[in-house]
């Protein structure tokens, strides 16, 4: 079997060490950095974002140190179409989208894998903290959590298909972040102490409203804060400034803390409520992708993560029509947010996941 791997190199510590490890394991490694957008496009000239020119140069430097070929691919058009446009659409619908899921789905495991195979590579690799294994019984490719639970990134990988998993390596799955940084330092990679990129790569300052206005001309439209009876409580600055569970930044004062409970894009209202009103016993996940098995035929007990930074909550899955799954928590969970990913875990194994549907 061919041992040619293309490593997606962001210029950061993780993907650099991933390339190093694969070389040590005897793979024929090629590095590739993706150009997804330019800082100027995002209106962030001079800011350090992920995939900036400086990151390309970092990746190129590591590739030179490792003695591997390095390519830069321009996927800007696809990124705008498949990631940024979807991100904007999600906000327009009143959701809080997670573009990293789409980037993985369409760009990294879509376009990049396609490009790599065109160029004669057998697999791609990334620096994600995750593990891929083949189940000896079913023959299915499984996605499993990383050994470093604090860094586990399977949440953003739930949409991977069998074909993609069969052609992807995650060399860091068995390592801790501290070990990875140590390896980087030991090999003289300049990025060993580079801080991890957080937040959405193309909106590093977190100002989503500003980004959407600058790049897509979407303007935030003020509307009403309402309570659950429909009574108007005040004015909001535009749906995009709020997410379910948010307490700060409402610019209103109440005797008891109020939280964003729901956003209604059609009515342009933001519903506020007490903490208790944030709890849901169940929700529906749509566009569900199952990894561990082909189809959900009956109820299944899993752990569900409804947010990247949140721990799993025990729940039961019930299959529904059209690729949808009903998720019923054992205990009501707080701030279930339409547009976010819901990922189902069966112990270490990623059972699958989907997007949290609005009402």
């Amino acid at each position: 079997m061919s041992k040619k791997v293309m490593v997606a190199m962001s210029g950061g510590v993780d993907s650099s060490v991933a390339a190093l490890l694969l070389l040590e394991q005897g793979y024929e490694v090629t590095g590739a950095t993706l150009r997804l957008f330019s800082n100027e496009e995002a209106g962030l000239k001079g800011k350090r974002t992920c995939c900036s020119l400086a990151d390309v140069e970092d990746a190129r430097g590591v590739a030179a140190r490792l003695g591997i070929e390095h390519y830069v691919f321009n996927f800007g058009r696809e990124f705008r179409r498949d990631v940024v446009a979807r991100f904007a659409q999600g906000y327009r619908r009143g959701e809080t989208p997670n573009p990293c899921i789409d980037c993985n789905r369409y760009i990294k495991f879509g376009r990049l894998l396609e490009r790599a195979r065109l160029m004669g590579m057998d697999k791609i690799a990334t620096g994600h903290y995750a593990r891929v294994e083949r189940d000896p019984e079913s023959g299915r490719w499984l996605l499993k959590k990383a050994r470093d639970a604090t860094k586990d990134q399977t949440y953003v990988l739930y949409a991977m298909t069998q074909e993609e998993l069969a052609h992807t390596l995650f060399p860091l799955g068995g390592l801790r972040k501290t070990e990875v940084r140590a390896l980087a330092a030991a090999h003289g990679f300049g990025n060993a102490r580079k801080p991890d990129s957080e937040d959405i790569c193309f909106v590093p300052d977190g100002d989503y409203a500003g980004f959407l206005e600058r790049t897509l001309g979407i303007r935030a439209e003020p509307g009403n804060f309402i309570d659950r009876t429909g009574r108007v409580l005040g004015r909001h600055r535009g749906l995009i400034h709020y997410t379910v569970g948010q307490r700060k930044g409402l610019r209103l004062s109440f005797p008891r803390p109020k939280y964003v409970v729901r956003k209604d894009a059609r009515a342009n209202t933001v519903q506020l409520g007490d903490n208790e009103e944030l709890y849901s016993g169940e929700f529906v996940a749509q566009k569900v992708n199952l990894i561990a098995c082909e189809r959900l035929t009956g109820p299944k007990k899993v752990g569900v993560k409804i947010r990247y930074s949140q721990s799993e909550a025990p729940a039961t899955l019930f299959p529904e029509e059209g690729g949808r799954v009903r998720v019923r928590f054992d205990r009501p969970q707080r701030a279930v947010t339409p547009g976010q990913a819901a990922v189902f875990y069966d112990g270490e194994v990623v059972f699958g996941g989907g997007t949290i549907a609005g009402e």
């Binding site: 190129r60 830069v72 321009n74 160029m119």
Partner: protein, 361 residues
């Protein structure tokens, strides 16, 4: 290569080593001038064609402004060295007008004439386009510019050394060239400035290049530039015939063997070694990468500083739909290329195009 090894003299020094270096630079300048139909004192060496373009445009606009002439006229198929300098001039308060080009990539003397009036300071139109090879009617445009009292500059980076260039015959005020485009060293370029034109300096400092382009001369680069240009001019006629044959074989082969392939640029009035195409249903970036893996060095669009590919602004300016413009390929032939190599390309390229079209979902 004496000036990269034993000869370290600085041409500005009074001692013997300096004087030897000075003589080498003088001789080089004379050779370059002769090749362009200019006088030695009209040739200024720079670090690249881009520097020449930047200098010519910014200095000329500064020079013309007190006369109330504050408008720069250029065209949409120019190299970024011209277009981005024009953008910078606009931000600095000058007016810029970017004329359209036709579907062959040419700007007409007529459209330039229509844009000229007493506010026009400078017209800048390239001698030949780098992406599609189309040659521009430089002499006619220079004439039109002068009739309106404007200056004329041409970015002749692609043309010098490939087709005969005589600055007197063309009637230009300034002309940019670039050494590596005719086989000289990278990091070297030059600007022809017509005698009597009081162009402001490009770089201030020790006063080299008659005070207009300070900085210690790149002696080895200058000597290499002159040698390359002399050689290129001597071989020009012979090469043109050979290139015409090779390019014809290549173009005919590609258009015959690959469905949905189109030649871009003027089929006749173009640089001898330039072969540029667009292929329907194909993207330039993977095309170039797959060709590279098979030993063919080609280009598409323009490389950005990250090393990724951007779609060509020239093809878009020529009116090609964006999807088609993304499928561009440039194969630049040189005198060292052979018929066997052409046939090799004609074997490899159709396979690669078919592979990409099949992979496209």
């Amino acid at each position: 290569m004496p000036y990269l090894t034993g000869e370290f003299g600085n041409p500005s020094s009074a001692h013997a080593a300096g004087r030897r270096a000075r003589r080498a630079v003088d001789n080089a300048r004379a050779a370059v001038a002769a090749a362009l139909g200019a006088q030695p004192a009209e040739i200024y060496f720079t670090a690249c064609g881009t520097e020449s373009d930047n200098w010519a445009l910014r200095a000329a606009m500064r020079m013309q402004a007190p006369k109330g002439r504050t408008r720069l006229i250029t065209d949409a198929a120019e190299h970024h060295a011209i277009l981005r300098t024009a953008q910078a001039l606009r931000r600095a308060g000058y007016r810029t007008q970017v004329l359209g080009v036709d579907r062959l990539g040419r700007v007409s003397a007529g459209s330039v004439r229509a844009a000229l009036d007493e506010s026009a300071a400078l017209v800048s139109v390239m001698a030949a386009n780098n992406e599609v090879g189309t040659r521009m009617p430089v002499r006619a445009i220079a004439q039109a510019a002068h009739e309106a009292g404007a200056l004329f500059h041409t970015d002749a980076v692609q043309a010098v050394g490939h087709v005969p260039i005589d600055v007197q015959e063309l009637g230009v005020d300034m002309l940019s060239f670039s050494s590596h485009k005719f086989g000289g060293p990278k990091g070297m370029g030059g600007l022809y400035v017509r005698k009597g034109l009081p162009l402001p300096a490009g770089l201030y400092g020790g006063g080299q290049e008659h005070g207009l382009r300070s900085g210690t001369e790149n002696v080895a680069g200058i000597v290499g530039t002159a040698a390359a240009l002399t050689e290129a001019c001597e071989a020009m006629e012979k090469n043109r015939a050979k290139l015409a044959a090779l390019r014809g074989r290549l173009t005919e082969g590609i258009l015959k063997k690959i469905p949905g392939a189109h030649l871009t640029g003027d089929p006749e009035e173009r640089l001898p070694g330039s072969a540029s195409f667009v292929f329907e249903g194909v993207e330039g970036e993977p095309l170039v990468l797959l060709l590279d893996q098979r030993g063919v060095c080609a280009s598409s669009g323009s490389a950005c500083s990250a090393g990724a590919l951007e779609p060509s602004h020239v093809l878009l300016a020529m009116g090609l739909p964006e999807a088609l413009a993304r499928g561009s390929l440039r194969l630049t032939l040189g005198a060292e290329n052979t018929e066997e190599e052409i046939d090799e390309i004609l074997r490899i390229l159709p396979e690669v195009v078919a592979l990409l079209r099949k992979a496209k979902r």
